[in-house]
Amino acid sequence: MSDIRISRTQLITALTWCVVGTGIVAIPTAIAQFTVRDAWISTMLFSVGGVMVALVTAVFTRFFPKRSLTHALIDAFGPWVGRAFAIWFLAGLYITNCTVVREAEVFVGTTILPKTPEYVLGAFALVAVVYAVYMGIEVVMRDAEFITPLVMLIAPILFVLSMQHMDIHEVLPVLADGWTPVLRGGVVSILVYALEMIIVLQFSPFVHRSQSVASDIFVATIVITVVLTTVTILTVGVVGSSTQYLSYPVLEAIRTIRVGRFLERMDTLYVIAVITTIFIKMAVCHYAWCTGMKDVFRLSSHRVTVFPGALLVWGGANVLFADADDVQQFIFYTGPAYAVCTLLLMPMLAVFAHKVRRNS
């Protein structure tokens, strides 16, 4: 059978790594700008965003079963307006992808390869991404599946080991400063990271039953929320108030690990686990972008745009952001508004237009 199928497990794992990959790096820092002690409550708010995405997906897949978002946009608005919208969405995806690549570059560059130029690291990672995307969605998804047990092996070890330095008093008292900072901190994690899951709509034609996509998102949301909350509690418990000024608090939590004289400085392992998950995220985003391009420009295959697209992303990642601070500013402040416009409104608009056209 030549048509491609994605299983539910694959979709859920891929979604989880998509969010957790960069989320684990950026979310604790982002929330710590507003609140440190109650950061974990903020991360719990991720579930709200996730449910929102699941609802949008449910509505979308009801009206456009077996349609990718870009395809649906073209169907709903007609060839010209639809294409304009689709290109707007693709631009959004492109920028997301650039951000992810740059984030990863900065992360690796700061943590383990300080002397290597960042753009080289980006190119290096994109080589693997290009190969995976070129081989198709099945391969990307299987990559995610393959990586899952490995990461699930490393992560618990790291977190159990870092628990020895945890001080529960660092997360107490609960809500000492009230709900306002918690909600403000939550906005970042909810909006940017949860809404990124909308990307799944690009894959809905490949999913076994498109009705199940919404419930898959829901499951992924629960998993991600649990993971992020656990990580945040641990990080704040270990790192304490320093979370606010450290760039990578989770990394710092891992760096505290010291078991006897033989097991310490495990942070490189963590960085490696993170790169692995970010790789999945990059591959998924890039694949979504490539299929979008295929729909919009009626290309024969998504493969046409894989390599040039990767070059574009590489260029964009290094040119769009002046420095690491710029990336953070974008994620923390510009990102949320942008995500709402692009990721949430786009599918709803498509559904709306579809309904209007059908009624008239």
Partner: protein
């Protein structure tokens, strides 16, 4: 399926139609196949000029009924074949010619089963049918074309032709030289059966038949090879193996057009899925018991006459980490050994690279006392770690190669000289650090712990790539290369089955025979990714600890 039909057409219409048909269906044709087709076109005139293939090309030319034409034809066709024997007899007034190749025929049976009965015939005007009943001790079939005659003679059978008939009889008394069945040398086991395949296909098939005594065990044969004309046999169990899988295998075998095919590796390269990959996408074994076990799982076996190995498809990653012993030992032990083997595989792939990365890039991962020791060891070594590692790996590979090719007695001394003397003095001379020797030796030992030789060879090559990656970018380099490797692995398919199947795509039920071997009573189903016709393989109830009530039964 379309391919299969086309192929049936091809057989009917001969060579040229074949190549044209291939071109017609060549929309998704791989380059290599194009080339193969081109070669056939290119070579055809020569073949025709040589005459022998002419018979194949227009295969249904009748056997001549006149004896002078027959003799002339035989002289032309089998001229310069000094081992061809023709014997003309007169049996009850009829002229009979026997044709066979010396050495391929059982002379005792030729004497007692054919010549003696023929000499005793007294009846006049015998027919072909009478001969069949006279020569009742040998297996007889009737042929009517020249090409069939050629094939029968080449197969080592005796062809009996009677003047005035445009048919001939093939008397099966062939006895090609070959060795007897021996112990399995490449896949030894401690507790299982010890038989191994030999170079004769019919014996090999018999080895399978005696283990699966059912008509459902099917063996479909195809003749492959322009000149070698060897038999390729696809063995499967009807009602278990997925029918499209068998069709796909047959289609690929039918597509083969080579001069000679006598070895399983040639076949494997011709029909394998991903020609450029380092990982084997077919599995080979010399053990009939292993083949039987796999047939019952829903895989199919492909055997070639002349090869003491059998090809098992589809092959997946996990199959190469499974040894036959796993099934002959108690499962509790197997559980541990399988885990060990998985670790050994990744060790053999990554250990030198990790060592290089830890020593030249990520020293912070090493505990301080260890780093101090390692740094002290490495002090004064003239090469950077990466060069040292590549050097040692090369030396190790050379030693390994030297040990393999030499006779066993010499081989041992080579390994002693290599490992003990060269290794030790290299360390003493300060050319390599002891740590590196330990690492390379550990890698070698880990690779010896793996059961599948062909698979290990892939990791022998890939470990170089990893060492280079580690030398360029440390752990990140290893990581990126592993991501590429994993992507490659998950993108592979063997006869449609994903290579990394129980892990990606994930299937919980298939895990029972993956990292562990579940006890037999727990393995109820065949692997799902093989999409077998019949899923259930085991209907035994789970054994329970029972009270000793059974004594009464045994007494009554």
């Amino acid at each position: 399926m379309r391919g299969l039909k086309l192929w049936q057409l091809c057989i009917l219409h001969g060579k040229y139609t074949h190549s044209m048909a291939s071109q017609m269906s060549g929309g998704d044709m791989v380059f290599a196949r194009f080339r193969r087709v081109k070669d056939v076109q290119h070579r055809s005139p020569t073949i025709t000029a040589m005459g022998w293939s002419e018979a194949i090309a227009d295969g249904d030319v009748q056997i001549p009924d006149r004896s002078d034409i027959m003799r002339a034809w035989l002289d032309a066709e089998w001229g310069h074949c000094s081992d061809l024997q023709t014997r003309e007899l007169e049996v009850a007034g009829e002229n009979i010619t026997l044709v066979w190749l010396r050495g391929l025929v059982d002379l005792v049976r030729l004497e007692s089963g054919i010549l003696q009965p023929l000499a005793q015939v007294s009846r006049r005007r015998i027919q072909m049918n009478d001969l069949v009943s006279i020569l009742y001790t040998v297996n007889i079939r009737e042929i009517s074309t020249k090409s069939q005659l050629n094939a029968a003679v080449a197969d080592g059978q005796v062809v009996l032709w009677m003047r005035g008939k445009s048919q001939a009889l093939v008397l099966d008394v062939s006895d090609a030289p070959g060795r007897s069945i021996n112990k399995a040398e490449n896949e030894p086991t401690l507790e299982g059966p010890q038989e191994a395949f030999i170079e004769q296909l019919d014996k090999n098939l018999a080895l399978l038949r005696k283990r699966i005594r059912s008509p459902r065990l099917k063996a479909e044969s195809v003749r492959v090879g322009e000149y070698s004309n060897s038999t390729v046999c696809v063995v499967y169990i009807e009602g278990i193996a997925k029918p499209t899988l068998v069709q796909e295998a047959m289609r690929r075998i039918h597509n083969i057009s080579v001069d000679g095919l006598n070895d399983i590796n040639k076949l494997r390269e011709l029909i394998g899925d991903a020609p450029f990959t380092l990982f084997p996408t077919t599995e080979e074994t010399e053990r009939p018991d292993r083949v039987c076990g796999n047939l019952l799982q829903g895989r199919i076996a492909i055997m070639v006459d002349g090869s003491p190995n059998c090809l098992l498809v589809p092959a997946q990653f996990i199959h190469f980490l499974v040894a036959v012993d796993d099934y002959y030992f108690h499962y509790t032990l197997t559980l541990f050994i399988r885990m060990l083997r998985h670790v050994a595989y990744w060790t053999s792939l990554l250990l030198p690279a990790l060592y290089v990365a830890l020593l030249s890039y990520n020293q912070d991962l090493l505990p301080t006392p260890l780093l101090v020791t390692v740094a002290a060891q490495h002090r004064g070594i003239p090469f950077p770690t990466i060069i040292e590692a590549l050097l040692m790996l090369m030396v190790f590979e050379v030693l390994r190669e030297a040990g393999t090719r030499l006779p066993r007695a010499v081989g041992q001394s080579v390994s002693i000289v290599g490992t003990l003397i060269v290794g030790d003095s290299a360390v003493r001379a300060g050319l390599v650090s002891p740590g590196m020797v330990i690492v390379i030796a550990g890698t070698g030992v880990a690779s010896f712990a793996l059961p599948a030789y062909g698979f290990v060879n892939s990791s022998r090559l890939i470990q170089f790539a990893f060492v280079v990656a580690a030398g360029i970018c440390g752990l990140v380099g290893i990581l990126i290369l592993s991501l590429i490797l994993v992507t490659h692995l998950v993108s592979l398919r063997s006869f449609g089955v994903p290579y990394m199947a129980p892990i990606a795509p994930f299937s919980w039920s298939d895990m029972k025979d993956m990292f562990i071997r579940a006890p037999w009573f727990a393995m109820k189903r065949r692997p799902t990714h093989l999409e077998t016709v019949n899923q259930v393989s085991n209907r035994t109830p789970v054994p329970k600890q029972k009270k000793a009530s059974g004594w009464d039964l045994s007494e009554s």
